[in-house]
């Protein structure tokens, strides 16, 4: 976790004895409140999506234009200027840098966009957080959901292109929903945590921006993983091991397995992804429980 909580060093002073402030509210029929929660999330997500491109001449086109331009620039610089050779797809035999790039860049952009945007989910909606009660966690969650929808649309467009190259990709694409769901869990957990951290320490915004940038370059999105000198030692550990401590390594790898190499990700990759999802989700729940009740007064 980035931002330090000002109360962290002082928790022994907190009154631990029960009853700690609690609220009992008439339990409404749970199906109704569930439906209301879903509707609220839908409305907040729509607000995210609609608000994003309002008052811009190109509107929704931006959500398509952005990735296209990014892909074009990376492809130009890395493929043409720097002569980066993509690894040959195994077993697909594919050898196209753009496809290699797109397969990992889209899931990466989802994480980066959601994380950066969610950081200010509470701080930007302070009037809402301090004036109305509602399940506040919906704020960062709706930000992630907004970007998830953008990601899925981008993925569908990309899939058409992949299928034109080799229709066999559609078989492997059946595993995509599972993969996207796992990445979604990781992204939403991180987003919830950075949103809370930013309330307690506004530096989080800057740290997140910086960290996202660094993270991007240590993740094999634009460069092939084969570039890492496996056996070279850094800090007494082989570099090959260090780079694999990055959960996004496995995300990039898994998407590439399905879309570029046309194979199922290895058991190790699945295990690493699942473990990351469980750990981040668990952390997010703990952080949320501990720090969410005080959000209104810290804002």
């Amino acid at each position: 976790m980035v931002g330090r909580d000002p109360t962290a060093g002082r928790q022994h002073r907190r009154p631990r004895a029960a009853p700690v402030g609690s609220l009992a509210v008439t339990a409404a029929p749970s199906r109704r409140s569930e439906r209301l929660g879903t509707e609220l999330l839908t409305n907040l997500t729509l607000r995210e999506l609609r608000g994003k491109y309002k008052r811009s001449a190109l509107g929704w086109t931006w959500s398509v234009l952005n990735p296209i331009v990014t892909i074009a620039v990376y492809a130009l610089v890395f493929s043409r200027f720097l002569r980066t050779e993509p690894p040959i797809g195994d077993p697909s035999g594919r050898n196209a840098y753009v496809l290699f790039l797109v397969a990992a860049l889209l899931p990466w952009t989802f994480l980066a966009n959601s994380m950066t945007a969610a950081t200010s989910a509470y701080t930007q909606n302070d009037s809402l957080v301090t004036k109305v009660w509602f399940p506040r966690v919906m704020l960062p969650v709706s930000v992630t959901l907004g970007w998830l929808i953008t990601f899925v649309i981008e993925m569908l467009v990309a899939l058409v292109i992949f299928a034109m190259v080799d229709p066999k990709v559609l078989v492997f694409a059946l595993a995509l929903p599972v993969l996207i769901a796992i990445e979604g869990v990781i992204v939403v957990s991180v987003s919830v945590m950075v949103a809370i951290a930013n309330v307690y320490a506004r530096d989080t915004e800057h740290i997140v921006r910086l960290a996202t940038n660094l993270w991007f370059w240590v993740t094999p999105v634009i460069w092939p993983p084969s570039l890492v000198p496996r056996d070279e030692i850094m800090f007494g550990v082989p570099i090959g091991v260090i780079v694999r401590c990055n959960p996004m390594w496995y995300v990039a790898e898994a998407f590439r397995d399905l879309l570029y190499d046309l194979r199922l990700p290895s058991a190790t990759t699945w295990a690493a992804l699942l473990a990351t999802a469980i750990v981040t989700a668990g952390l997010a729940v703990v952080v949320h429980r501990r720090y969410e009740p005080r959000l209104a007064e810290e804002l």
Binding site: T7, G21, T26, L36, V132, A201, E297
Partner: protein
């Protein structure tokens, strides 16, 4: 707590305490946290509420009164679940809606229609509920013509009306209201009061925080009086308000200038010297000074003149068309050539708003308690100094 008891309390507050940590120098940066970790003296602790317990019976209209910083808004926010008490419990029995801020969560780029649905779901209304009441909401807000325009083009009055219309149509069983009668024009305020009365008839429990004691007296059945975080008492509205006012007008009750941008409120004579008392019919100036850096921009100052719970006058600086160079400099005078008050003790309340009157920076009641001495006019009764001549 699961079965809504019809005659049990709507809200039950038991031993609630709420502590705020006031950072001496509010810098939430990682650096300051790391650097200052060992220096705990940088916090001052403030108990905004201390061991407050009382019940609010279902169907009553309940007022929370007390001067600024008494904890009444904190208590209301605890009931609304926005703040979590440090100790004690609050049980709420029924569907709760709060009018703490009207139109909170409106997205400026979205249309009024889209915002109604958004705001409704934030307040816990289902899409179907909103759809079935949509026309009522729009009609109540009188925004039929503008409902599909983006909210950013709304005037502040339209904004508030729409927010109120959504919240009131939730048909809550318990409604929390914080000073919203202070916004909007006269006609809108009247409609709000009518709407509250209608809700009350329907058996809705209304909890109101207000500085307008006249309104509290006429609207509320019961009142809880809070003083620096402690409950001074609960009881029938009239009795409690009288007790509160007695305490206010005694010299010890006039607690001044708690935290907020207002530096001082003074009664000064024509030469600028502070006056202890003013003679009926003489010149007087109310001088309000505030810290402009804390309010960030031009302000609107509202003065309210009271005798007991009776409001004698209310004036508003925004009506005078002063430029921002005057209303942002940190001092504003309200000068009266002939103070038309009969001898007696009066109370001045001051509210400092932002220019649009949407945000209250600080409200002081009493800001000033002053005496008017008898002049030559022979005033013997009432509040008005007529200033006429015999002969």
């Amino acid at each position: 707590m699961t079965s809504p008891a019809t005659n049990g309390p709507a809200v039950s507050i038991e031993g609630v305490s709420k502590r705020f940590r006031l950072l001496q120098d509010r810098q939430s940066t990682v650096k300051s946290m790391v650097v200052n970790r060992s220096r705990r003296s940088r916090y001052t602790e403030l108990w905004a509420l201390e061991n407050v317990s009382f019940d609010i019976a279902a169907g009553t209209s309940y007022g929370l009164i007390g001067h600024n910083g008494s904890g009444k808004s904190t208590l209301l926010k605890c009931m609304a679940r926005i703040l979590t008490p440090d100790k004690g419990t609050i049980s709420v029995n029924g569907r709760l809606s709060s009018l703490l801020e009207l139109g909170a969560g409106f997205h400026p780029e979205l249309s009024g229609r889209e915002n109604v649905y958004l705001n409704g779901s934030i307040l816990g209304m289902s899409k179907r509920d909103v759809a079935s009441r949509f026309d009522d909401i729009v009609e109540f807000a009188s925004l039929e013509r503008f409902i599909d325009a983006p909210v950013r083009n709304y005037s502040s009055g339209m904004y508030v009306r729409l927010g109120f219309a959504v919240a009131i149509n939730l048909e809550p069983e318990i409604l929390l209201v914080d000073e919203i009668m202070a916004v909007g024009d006269e006609a809108f305020q009247r409609r709000c009061m009518e709407q509250f009365a209608r809700l009350k008839e329907r058996g809705c429990t209304v909890v109101v925080v207000s500085h307008n004691l006249t309104q509290v007296r006429s609207f509320c059945d019961e009142v809880a009086w809070l003083d620096t975080g402690q409950l001074r008492g609960t009881g029938p509205a009239g009795v409690m308000i009288d007790r509160y006012l007695d305490a206010l007008e005694s010299p010890h009750g006039a607690e001044q200038h708690r935290s907020g941008p207002i530096v001082s409120v003074d009664l000064v004579g024509p030469d600028g010297d502070p006056l202890e008392a003013v003679t009926a019919g003489a010149a007087a100036t109310f001088r309000i000074r505030w810290r402009p850096d804390e309010v960030d921009g031009p302000v609107n100052i509202a003065l309210g003149l009271y005798s007991g719970a009776l409001r004698l006058a209310g004036v508003n600086s925004s009506a005078s068309g002063l430029g921002p160079e005057i209303t942002s400099r940190g001092q504003l005078d309200y000068s009266i050539d002939h103070l038309s008050l009969a001898p007696g003790t009066y109370r001045l309340a001051v509210a400092l708003h932002d220019e649009t009157m949407r945000q209250v920076h600080q409200r002081l009641d009493p800001a000033l308690v002053f005496d008017v001495a008898g002049g030559t006019g022979g005033d013997t009764a009432g509040h008005l100094h007529l200033g006429g001549r015999w002969g």
